[in-house]
Amino acid sequence: MHTVRITIALLALVFTIVQQASAQETQYVQSVKAKVFSAPSFKASVLGEASRGTRLRSIGREGSWMKISYYGKDGYVAAILLSASRPMAKHTMIKAEDTEFQQGVRRRASTYTSAAAARGLAADDRRRLSGDDKLDYDGLERVEKYAVSEAELVRFMEGGTI
């Protein structure tokens, strides 16, 4: 039928146009810095370095590399450093969570703990029943509080000694 033929031709045309259009996507740099190479290899020359939050126009993907348009040239960035959404700000736990940083293992009951309680099993009971799973929040606190200075980290990354 005439209409069916026209429709099929139209569809074929649309398919090809769409394939072109669909190749382009926006990517944002997530890492502190991301080197842009001229080819998909660490040995290639560096076209530049994009910092966190930079918006890049992606024109394809080659294995572990994302091909982008960089100041008019084709550039390559390691795909693991990019993401389709903007980088989030560094997350800080809200003040209320500080109760968990108290000495000892007492925690404010969460809705989930309450739910478990409703099912007849309070958090402590579960801990006891699960055998060798003790919770060490003191240790966790020590791990979380451990910090290295920025200067120390930069020196380390540049090859310095500890």
Partner: protein, 413 residues
């Protein structure tokens, strides 16, 4: 048979301009309502998509690919259509309006092990037709003198309901199959009141007909979904309405200045009507997570019915869905709703009207994590031919314009 009964009852009077047809406009088309939140925005081009509750109606196999655990969707729509028949009485045209406001779809999908179970309710056809016109002047009749006044009141309500469960399963990574078994119920009530006052101011003719039709049956829909390659989905569904019980009751009263010409008595008829086999073939292309393009071809077989034969019908639909971002999407579609009546023959009488309709739909949706709300509309238009006068070979031009607005929502939890 009801048509014959009716016409036999009124063969006694031969009035040039009285309305002859008792069938409703909806019987003449198979694609009167688009069903479901997403499908409506996409012009009903859904057989290749069908991966949400709307799919329970178009192609149950597709629900296998629905995301989320439970889904439910509902649609509330307001529909309005105007039909204008030109030159019916001494050059004056008739206008018939129909409206409908109803929730016309509800569906849920629940995963059950390897299967997806669904349940839905759909109203694929609903009309509330209304015509109230009075013509004054001088009109020729076969009653020995001209008429000076003609009043017509026509009220017609015809709604089809479908309700039933669905089950779908993935046969392998490329083929899925599904089935919906709907219970079918159609109820139609039509009242036609016509009054003619003749020139001598004492003679008159008053005719009233009341038709009530109830059909009960079931409508199985068998569907398949094939994924021949990445991003391309082909859907095929087959359906047919089987009526196991049908009752048509006609009550006709006729009175004139001499007395009662016809006592109101109910005449019944229970011949079950036949409905066509519906084949729907659809293709959907998903190039990116923002864009979806689809096309459907529907074929309805011809049917021989005492009420009037239906020819085979081919309908086409094109649909698209585009996400502006993850919270907003727009949908658009084009569709046809071709008449299932044969071409009118200028040498015959009492033929059913034939109007091919073309439509366009558009909608916008907003998404949050678990919910989505859509708002949109559709416009249908077309022109064709009718033979609205009884026992007369005049053919009128008909113009139809209908529009629909809808609001729907869906939840995933």
């Amino acid at each position: 048979m009801s048509l014959q009964l009716f016409n036999a009852a009124r063969a006694m009077v031969f009035i040039l301009f009285m309305m002859s047809s008792v069938s409703t406009a909806d019987e003449f088309h198979y694609n009167n309502f688009l069903i479901g939140d997403r499908a409506t925005g996409m012009g009903g081009a859904y057989a290749g998509v069908s991966d949400d509750p709307s799919g329970l109606y178009y192609n149950p196999a597709g629900i296998v690919y629905s995301t989320g655990r439970n889904l439910s969707a509902s649609l509330n729509s307001y529909y309005n259509q105007t039909k204008k028949y030109d030159s019916v009485i001494s050059g004056i045209g008739w206008e018939r309006r129909s409206t409908s406001l109803l929730p016309n779809f509800f569906g849920i999908i629940q995963p059950l092990g390897k299967f997806k179970f669904g349940f839905s309710y759909a109203v694929p056809d609903s009309i509330r037709e209304d015509q109230d016109q009075t013509f004054t002047g001088s009109f020729p009749t076969s009653l020995g003198q001209p008429a000076t006044r003609y009043t017509i009141n026509f009220n017609n309500e015809d709604t089809t309901y479908l309700i039933g469960p669905s089950l779908a399963v993935e046969l392998n990574s490329k083929i899925a199959a599904g089935m919906t078994l709907y219970l079918y119920h159609r109820s139609n009530q039509s009242i036609l009141n016509q009054f003619i006052a003749l020139q001598d101011n004492t003679s008159f003719l008053w005719e009233n007909s009341y038709i009530e039709k109830v059909e009960r049956g079931y409508k199985p829909i068998l569907g398949f979904m094939i994924t021949p390659m990445d991003r391309l989905s082909i859907g095929l569904s087959l359906a047919k309405t089987f009526v196991y019980s049908s009752s048509v009751d006609v009550q006709l009263s006729k009175v004139d200045q001499t007395g009662i010409l016809s006592l109101p008595t109910m005449i019944g008829d229970s011949t079950t009507p036949k409905y066509p086999v519906e084949v729907r073939l659809g293709a959907a292309y998903f190039p990116t997570s923002s864009l979806l393009l689809s096309a459907d071809l529907s074929y309805y077989t011809k049917v021989e019915n005492p009420n009037g034969d239906r020819v085979n019908v081919v309908n086409l639909a094109l649909g698209s869905e585009y996400f502006l971002d993850k919270n907003w999407a727009v949908r658009g579609g084009l569709f046809t709703n071709m008449a299932n009546t044969p071409e009118l023959d200028p040498t015959r009488f009492n033929q059913e009207e034939k109007v091919d309709l073309y439509g366009m739909s558009l909608s916008i949706s907003n998404f949050t994590r678990n919910t989505s709300v859509s708002f949109g509309g559709a416009v249908t238009t077309g022109s064709g031919k009718a033979q609205i006068q009884q026992d007369v070979s005049n053919i009128q031009n008909v113009d139809v314009l209908g529009w629909l607005i809808f609001l729907s929502s869906s939840y995933s939890y």
